[in-house]
Amino acid sequence: MTANLRRRKLFSRLFEVLCALAVVIALIPLTMILFYVIKEGAGALNWDFFTKMPKPVGESGGGMANAIVGTLILISIAALFAVPVGGICGVHLAEYPSTKFSSVVRFAADVLNGVPSIVVGIFAYGLVVLPVKRFSALAGGVALGFLMIPIVVRTTEELLRLVPGGLREGALALGATRGRAVFGVIVPAALPGILTGILVALARVAGETAPLLFTALNNRFWSTNLTQPIASLTVQVYTYAQSPYDDWHRQAWAGAFLLVMMILALSIAARVAVRRLERMNRP
């Protein structure tokens, strides 16, 4: 082995080690955060947390039942709004991929994806809060929905494109209209993947705080009314974290723990669905 080769091989080894190091470095904050959240949060989770309302300042105890339900309601509204809009938009992009209109819409979806969530919050404030002069769960759900749409659009489009062309041709050959073919045959074929995309999108918006600050505001009470402010895990954790009360800090960690668990559950579900999809499509 020449000296040159040895040097190059050493260099190569060095870089390989550096890359491995990079992975380790990235995993450090991850483990630290997860460890911290679990250590502080799991201990603070108790039955009360899930079932009680927040107590006034200075009184210990109480929980975040309203915030948990609030987050679930908000992401449901978001999904209700984003899935049809994003999904059908994705259908259009998949069916007419090369028109000018489609390129523009695709670009718009990409733009929307990159918009900071706080800007989307401002938009939702002007759109849904000001006209009725009221903060509401609906406004919060709409803001989250806007954030979900680009993910749903992209996923739907990509997955529909992956469905083998033979399926569509077969459906059309049997006399189905375009609409029938797409919604009756192709979409169901891609459904597991699309659902996965929706789960991923839900996981993303469940953790959002900024857009809720001036749309859904917050609510100390139990509320399922869509036209009233509503509590959410993220905003509640944000509020508690900046307080000087140790009990509220404890609850903030519990809330954070719950949030992380929820998002983990959603992304695990997404991955399981993907694996099932891959198994289905592989003969």
Binding site: P116, E158, G179
Partner: protein, 316 residues
Amino acid sequence: MRRSSDDRKFRLGTGVFAALVLLIVIGIAVELTRQSTLSIAKFGLKFWTTSIWNPVSGDFGALPFIWGTLYSSILALLIATPIALGIAIFISELSPGKLRQPLAYLTDLLAAIPSIVYGLWGVFVLVPFVRKLEVVTPGALKTIPLFQGPPLGVGMLAAALILAVMVIPFTSSVAREILKNVPSAQREAAYALGATRWEAIKVAIGFGKSGIIGAVMLGFGRALGETIAVTMVIGNSPQVSASLFKPQYTMAAVIANEFTEAADELYLHALIEIGLLLFIITVGVNMISRLLIWSMKRRVAAPVITPIVPAEEALA
């Protein structure tokens, strides 16, 4: 006959929803502009170059926020990019097959952690750590502008660190995609010529260069818009400073803090104008990054999927 009218109905019907998405984006741009006219009219271009932010006197200038946003994001990029690329290379080129999925999953987990949890960790763990760092910084070093400032813990350094951690999964996931799509012929040719592992990887990176730059810019766009985690650790003080230790302010953070309390019209419009600016900058950065990624993929024959979020990569 019936076929084409059904087709037309389908096209129109689905097109309406597609148009809706377009409308939303246009709507955001329009609303932001409409709601910042007072500020635009009063300050014009000076808004972007003045440093005063005085709600009492009605003088507003966005320079400290623009500075804080760009500085923190660029710092975050400097820290995150080598790590993210290292991860991408390791996972796609170097790691044993079995480790690939779990490692990818773990790094993507970083992206799934909500901003508020980063903020919590930032406040209770990172900031005290940075404060200790600031306290032990030797006095001699402290005279350089880069390290001036009281040891508060909160400040530019903490913000840059937290942003870096948040950006890593985004950049690494897209970079992984890019590398996966580099035709293996490229690498094989390099090996055939006697290249070492690293040299073959370099060839692959060279091929996917524009895509990788796009990945980096995607991370940049993410850092620009991050709100909650940053506002909890940056100190919220509007000043233009090169110091890592001094508290500063970003565009997204000032909006989050002051929006609900901006009592008079001009104040509100000034804040929304900042939102408009943020919108324009992030859209621009994202545009360029997508263009770069797309141009790289054009050179590859196989159909390719661009992930929007890291977790989506699993669908590819």
